[in-house]
Structures are given as structure tokens and as C-alpha cells.
Amino acid sequence: MIAGLTKLERQLSLAVLTVLALCGLAFAAAGRNDPIGTHGFVILLSAVGLMFVVMAGYYAPEPDKERLSRYYDDPTKVGIILAMAWAVFGLFFGVWVAALLAWPDLTFDAAWSSFGRIRPVHTTSVIFGFGGNALIATSLHVLQRTTRARLPDQFSPWFVLLGYNLFCVLAVSGYFMGLTQSKEYAEPEWYADIWLVIVWVVYFLIYIRTLARRKEPHIYVANWYYMAFILVVAILHIVNNLAVPVSFGSAKSYSLFSGVQDAMTQWWYGHNAVAFFLTAGFLGMMYYYLPKRAGRPIFSYRLSIISFWGIVFMYMWAGSHHLHYTALPQWVQTLGMTFSVVLLVPSWASAGNALATLNGAWHKVRDDATLRFMMVAAVFYGLSTFEGSFMAIRAVNSLSHYTDWTVGHVHAGALGWVAMISFGSIYALVPWMWKRERMYSSRLVEVHFWLALSGTVVYVFAMWNSGIIQGLMWRTYNESGTLAYSFIDSLVAMHPYYIARTLGGLLFLLGAMVGCYNIWMTIRQPGTSLAAEGSEVDEPALATSTALQAGE
């Protein structure tokens, strides 16, 4: 991989890694008595390790000019592998977290493994580790194919991919040590937050620079979504993470906002992390891989426009549905609820657009598990957005809030939509990237599909049951007009569902492991040049205009 970088890019890498190593050293020194010191070492070691990798390839000959006539896919390949690794890690922790609620003593009495610490390990690993890497990997792929322009340089994609993974490692290792800002989905501490901002700016620059050199006059829908994902996540991340650190040598910081303003900012962030990370980004993915795999045109361009702008505009109002009946002023709750209801329309419009695109290709859905992954994802997307809009209605939320119903909704979206669309896209992408005719085993894709689907269904049904039972038990009155059940009663009632959920999760995890094996074997099997079946027309779009490339 280093051999693919130019001399200049190798030098740039070393320079950046040196700066990073020095930062790590500074933290390690300043935070001797604080967990931030440990993180300083993590940063230092990552930087030095990568320096060795760069040095090892440093004296390789300059790459040939030919490369400019091909897309730059190495970061995508690494991103896919990282995504799958994080998936297994995160799902494993999901199963563990689930098991803890059924058998609470499975912590081995260690501090790092207690529920409150490994729950964010799970959420961060799956959302940011798995989801984020899948988004970065696919976005770089889709961006080049739909602009017919090569990435602007070969350094910044690595910076983004590896820098992003450093962020994830800091986040997850921090939770084990108890480092957290406690803001859901924004738990990492201030220095990791700052680092992510830098990474994200470079990510945005890659996008805008590539778009600037596109050979297609129009920007494709998938890129609208990827751009919205990048831009809005930046806004959300910066505002919600504003905080004052205790000192440079301390990992701890105090959030700038407090109380009700903090709550609103947090859920404006939290809800739109769902919208722009878990939804917009993956819609971008869907808009490329689904029509590609189905070999069908998008059902309606006009519908794409409506759903895109509907989503970008309306999601941002909906965050307050996480705070119904709380100390948040009621007027904000009203806005959150009404916009959530309207939001259903663009959401279903995009799910419908995807499903209608399959018209004329339903026989492929039947035969091809990869496409079926994407089809089922679109269905679950429709399902979870319907459920979300329903739960955003105040009267419904009074029952569902604080219960497992929310968790069921989350995982209908997370397993059914986010993970399924990612797996489908990755199965489409892997043979293209590694120039294989097809996946090592389509039977195993089929196995993965059924494990994933059954796992999701078991999980979601278990949580619907437990959530609704829980919500009802909390508010049921007896004939005397007093509360019929104690909190403990509801806790006892959850037990069987927590066991079922663990089993569902286990199925899902097994599926992901099967997927890893299949991908690994695909990479290992001998390459063909490029093959017919379902493969991508990977035309070297720039063969004729390499000159335009060189400078960037």
C-alpha cells in the first residue's frame, strides 16, 4: 500500500505521524496521574507503529503514472475489513450486554466489564466502528464511480480512515477505563472530539475536491446523502460536544450547557445522529448499491428530491421527541412531535423509491441473497421510521419512553436497516474491489442472510413484548385506584425476554462471523481479471484525462 503513495505523500505521512506522536507524548507526559496519560500512549504507539509501516515502504520506487487512470480503492478495501472487524467486536459486546441483563454476574467482577461501561462500547463499536467504516469505505468508492474522478490525492483518504479508527479506539478504550461525557452517542472526551473534527474536515475536503473535478455535470443522489451525512454530523458534533476540560492533563471535561438546554442540545444531536449517520449515510449507500445490484434505474428522480430535502429539513426539528413530558418546555415537544409525524412522508418516500426500483428485478431478489439483504433493509427502514413517527406522538411516547420498546425500535433500525444495507453493499463491493468473479460462497451469503433476519426478528419481537409489558405495568392501576405493580414486578417480568433477545443477538453475531469468513475466503481465492456476473463496469474513466489528475 505504501508503494502506491508518491514520495511526497510518504513524506507528508511521516510528518503528520510525527506531529501526532508528539501530541501523544505530550498527553502521556501531562496526564501521568490521569487516564488521559494512557490515551497519550495509545496515540503515541499508533503513530509510531504507522511510522514503521511507512518507513518500511519508504524506499519503494515511485508509483507509475498508470495509477492515475485507475480509481484509488486501497482505503476502501481496508475500510471494508475494518468495518467487518468492528462489526464482530461490537456485536459480541451487544450479546454480552444483553446477557448481563439476564445474568448480571457475567462481569467477572471487573470494573471494565460492568454494564454501564460496556454498553457504550457496544453502541460506539457498532454505530461508529462498523457503521462509520462502512460509510467511509463505500462513500469513497461511490464518490469516484459517480463522479468518474479519482480521489484528489492518496494521503487524505488514509488520514481519514485511520484517523477515524483512532478516534473509535480512543472512544472504546476510554469507556473501559470509565472515560465518558455521558452524552449518548457522543461519549468520547474532549480531546477525542477535537481529533474527530480534524478528521472530519479532511473527509469533507476529499468530497468537495473530488466533486470539483467530476466528469459528470450532475451530482448523483447518493452523494447528496453522503454530503448531508458529512456536513450535518460535523455541525451536530461540534455543538453538542462543547465543553471545558478540567486541565490539559485531565481527560475530564464539563459540558458547556447544563440542565434543560443541555438535554435539548443532546437530543437534537442524538436524534440527528440517527438521521444523518444511521439514515442519510446509509441511504447514500442504498442509492448506489441497490440499483447497481438490481440493474434497474431509480424509480423516481423527483421522489428522490422530495425525500432528500424533506429528510434534511425535518429531521432537525424532531429531536425533542426524546424529551416528551420532561422538564423541556412543552412548545418544543409540540414541534418535535409534529415534525416527526410529517417526517414519515419523506422517509417512506425513500423506502418506497428503493422498493419500486426493484420492479422488474424481483426474480433477482428471490435468487440473490445480496440483493435480498438490501431489499429487506429498505423494508426495515420503512418499518422503523413508521414506528419512530408513531412513538414520537406524545401519548404513545408516554408509554414507550424509558422502556425496551425504544430499544426494540433502535434495533429494528440498527439490525434491520443499518446492518443489512451494509452487509448487502459489502457483499456487492468485495468482489469488485478484489477483482473476484463473485463471493467465495453464495451459499454462505444465504446462510448469513437467514441468520441476520431471524436474529433481528427474534430481537425486535422480544423487545416489543418486553417494552410494552414494561410500559403497561408501570401505569396499570388496580381496583383501588393505586399502582398495581411495583418496579421490581416489572423487572421480574422482563427476564424471559432478555434471554430471548440474547439468543436473537447471538444469531445475528453468528451471521456476521459467517460473513467475515466468506469475505476472507473471497480475498484469498485466486483472482480473475474481471468477471461477468453482476460485476461492475469499472471503467477507468480518466484514462483520457490523466493530466487533470496529477497536480491534486
Partner: protein, 243 residues
Amino acid sequence: MPNFHRKLERSAIGFVLAIIVVASIGGFVEIAPLFTIDETVEKAPDMRVYTPLELAGRNIYLREGCYACHSQMIRTLRDEVERYGPYSLAVESQYDHPMLWGSKRTGPDLARVGGKYSDAWQVAHLRNPRDVVPVSVMPAYRWLEDNTLKTEDLGDHLLAMRRVGVPYTQAMIDNAPADAYGQATPDTDRAAGVSERYGEATNIRAFDGDPSRVTEMDALVAYLQILGKLTDVATAPAVAAKE
């Protein structure tokens, strides 16, 4: 529409700006007024700040992820008010950077748990919840009793809190480590400063039952025992109404 949009699709910068503008409206309209509309946060003249020991305990609450299972927000619903007490007011988390309202109740709400149980119970429960509540699924936090509380940098913590708007006085900041120690060691001379600076009503006790050491257990229990007790505004009218 399609024609206008086709033009927009041809300009990357235009598209970027359009996304930023369209996406910024909602958050701005919902968040900014929370700072300008006066009645958003009620007035509570008796509201007091967390003592250094309680703040340290709160940080342990964050560190251990208690918020993942416990809400601190009683909603305006009949069953919640009847089970947990008067609904939470915005002012009660005025000094909470960040707030800990929570989003999941695997365990019960803790907004008013302060004073509900004894220190000894809290300690026994945190040591192993299943010793006192056999069906509990809450983790055991045995290490809290063993870990000595880190107090030396609490002054910096109070200072950082002051920077984000919590009215800590200079005396509070200067005496933070001593006050943290004193609050958990009632028989030492450092205990007196705590009630002087934070009020007579402050709990000054050996929370973990061992007055010879100040542990993380002391801090966490001190924090739990103050939940819902920083001000009386939420409970006062309700008690009056009940009588």
C-alpha cells in the same frame, strides 16, 4: 422544481450551502429560545451547588455509566408522580453539566432517591445489589469501597464548573480537597468548613461507614443522597397540595 434542482445539482458549493442552511433552521429555532424565554428554567432561590465530594460522586456515576440504566427525570404523568414523587423541574438540573435525565429505565428513576434509603443500604446495594434485592440485574460495584477517592484536583473541577456558569466561590475552589475530605470524616476539623461553605443542611457523615478513609463509595453515596435535595421548589408545592 426539477429544473431548479438540476441547476443546484451542478454546483457542489451551492449544494453544500443549501444543506447547511436547510439543516440549521430546526435546531436554531428549538434551542436558542431556551436561553431567552425566562420561564424555561424556574426560579429557586434555595438552590445550592454540589459539594466537591458530591461532584466527585457524580463523576463516578458518569464513569460507571449508571445513567445507562437510571433516569433522573420524573415526567409529568400521573403514574410517575405517584411512584417517584413530584415531577422534575428544569431548575433542578440547572447546575448539571451535563444533565443526566437518561433515556432508559432498566432500573428505577433516581431523581428523588436522596434520603430515601440509608447510607448503609446504599453501600450494601452497591457492593452487591443481589445481597439486598435478590432479583436485581444491577452490576456489583465492589471496587468503589477499595478505591481511595482522588481529591487533589477537585479545585480544578470546581474551577471548570465555574467557567461553565456554576456559582462556586473562590473559597469553595480553594478548599475543595479539604472539603471533600471533611464531608466524609465528620469528626475531623475539616468537617466544619463544609457546612460553613455549603450550608448547615449538608450531609456530613462517614457515608461508607468507615470514617478513617475517604473512598469512591463515600463520594457516590454522598451524591445519591443529595439527588432531589438541592432545592425544595419541586417538593414544596406538592406537599402543600397534599395537605
